[in-house]
Symmetry: C2
Subunit: 248 residues, 2 copies
């Protein structure tokens, strides 16, 4: 058997998220369907670095799977893209050691979140950017970003439905990059809880509007209560940007 | 009655073109449906600067219609956007003299055509850019662009189905703007025949690939025969960018 590591991008707009669910169009379903065609009908199970929700995009999601086929890396990429729908694209396929695991071996992940602050709605980016037509205090947003850096208990910043027990995560960097009326959040951490990036972004946008102060991040973190943080920003602005493993 | 001039943008991906056709989702249908709701069910007919084909986008399409309602311009915009689907956006509504006509009064129009030359497919722009993963001779493309400027008979550059008799049009400017792996054609003229921009772009891309020389544009124009020009570039890269009238 060969273990393959596969880096893919997808437009989340027409998917009910990454993970297979009965009778829903999901990314995992389409990837496994393409691999099954390449393997003459045999089922091939893929493991991802993590799930993404309905409407969330990926620029660098990572998967692994095992195959009895011996195919050059470039040919794997071509074959998969030939069998995948237009909203998934395989960027790279690499042969990796048999103990590589797309989920357990993650060292850090980067998410990005795109916001359009223009008064005018952009029909072309409606599924790919959060339209938030308000003026923001960027200095306040930037100051608040800094308060997330480091190791914290993120109970206030995850969906109340989260079943994971350990809610301590480390944020390595969090930047708010402004370019005219476009605002992009870039966040790198060792792991993320359910809805964590979207709640952080929703909270930062409310600080930008003056509804809270940058220093309120400290008390929100301490509260360990989802109700203390801001609204969950919508799925369409969120991108799983990059997944980092030890060897790259 | 008040005559209103209305500038709209739309994402053509999920429309069967601009013009009303039985049982198809078209831009005109959605705009007339929104206006009908604003007018408590009365039918309001709109006239556009021209049609666009299935999959073709608009950044500045212009329409006019007549209404018995007296509403401030900003409120017109709000009301229309509230009743339109997310892939149409009204940018501006202006009260104009009763003899203004969105089609007959056009002085010039600008179209743009977006090409992605990257080897990698971009899932996010798949409906909005033509993916053409080849290296091009930009100098040849730019030289060929210049040969279109001026008044010409464009019989070779329109669909053989075109019923219009007079195929003479004037091109005021045609530029090929390169930005990394993105290429954008910008073309301004006094009018365009059916498929004319898409055939011009298809022909220019073939010149960029060395299949024809820049000077071949002269003989292609002289041939007055659709078969002499290149392929029709696909709809998804094309944008009706701007329509100019005498008063702006």
């Amino acid at each position: 058997m060969n273990r393959l590591k596969c880096t893919i991008s997808y437009d989340g707009a027409q998917f009910e998220g990454y993970q297979i669910q009965k009778e829903k169009r999901t990314v995992q379903l389409e990837v496994q369907r393409a691999l099954s065609r390449i393997h003459k009908g045999s089922e091939i199970k893929v493991s991802a670095s993590g799930r993404t929700d309905a409407g969330v995009h990926a620029v660098g999601q990572v998967l692994h799977f095992d195959s009895p086929l011996t195919i050059p890396e470039g040919a794997w990429q071509k074959a998969m893209n030939a069998h995948l729908p237009k909203d998934i694209w395989v960027k790279k396929v690499e042969t990796v050691p048999g103990d590589f695991h797309a989920r357990f071996d993650v060292v850090k992940k980067e998410y990005r979140y795109k916001v359009n602050l223009s008064k005018d709605f952009n029909v072309f980016s409606r599924d790919h950017v959060f339209h938030y037509p308000f003026s923001l205090d960027f200095e306040a947003v930037q100051e608040a970003c800094g308060h997330f850096i480091g190791e914290h208990d993120f109970t206030s910043f995850c969906s109340a439905k989260t079943e994971v027990e350990d809610k301590v995560r480390t944020i390595y960097s969090l930047e708010a990059v402004v370019n005219g009326e476009e605002l992009e959040f870039r966040i790198v951490g060792n792991g993320f809880l359910y809805n964590m990036v979207r709640i952080i972004v929703g909270t930062l946008l409310e600080i930008g509007q003056g509804k809270n102060l940058p220093n309120d991040i400290f008390s929100i973190l301490e509260a360990r209560n989802r109700g203390a943080a801001g609204k969950t920003a919508p799925a369409q602005g969120l991108y799983l940007w990059n997944v980092v493993y030890d060897d790259n």
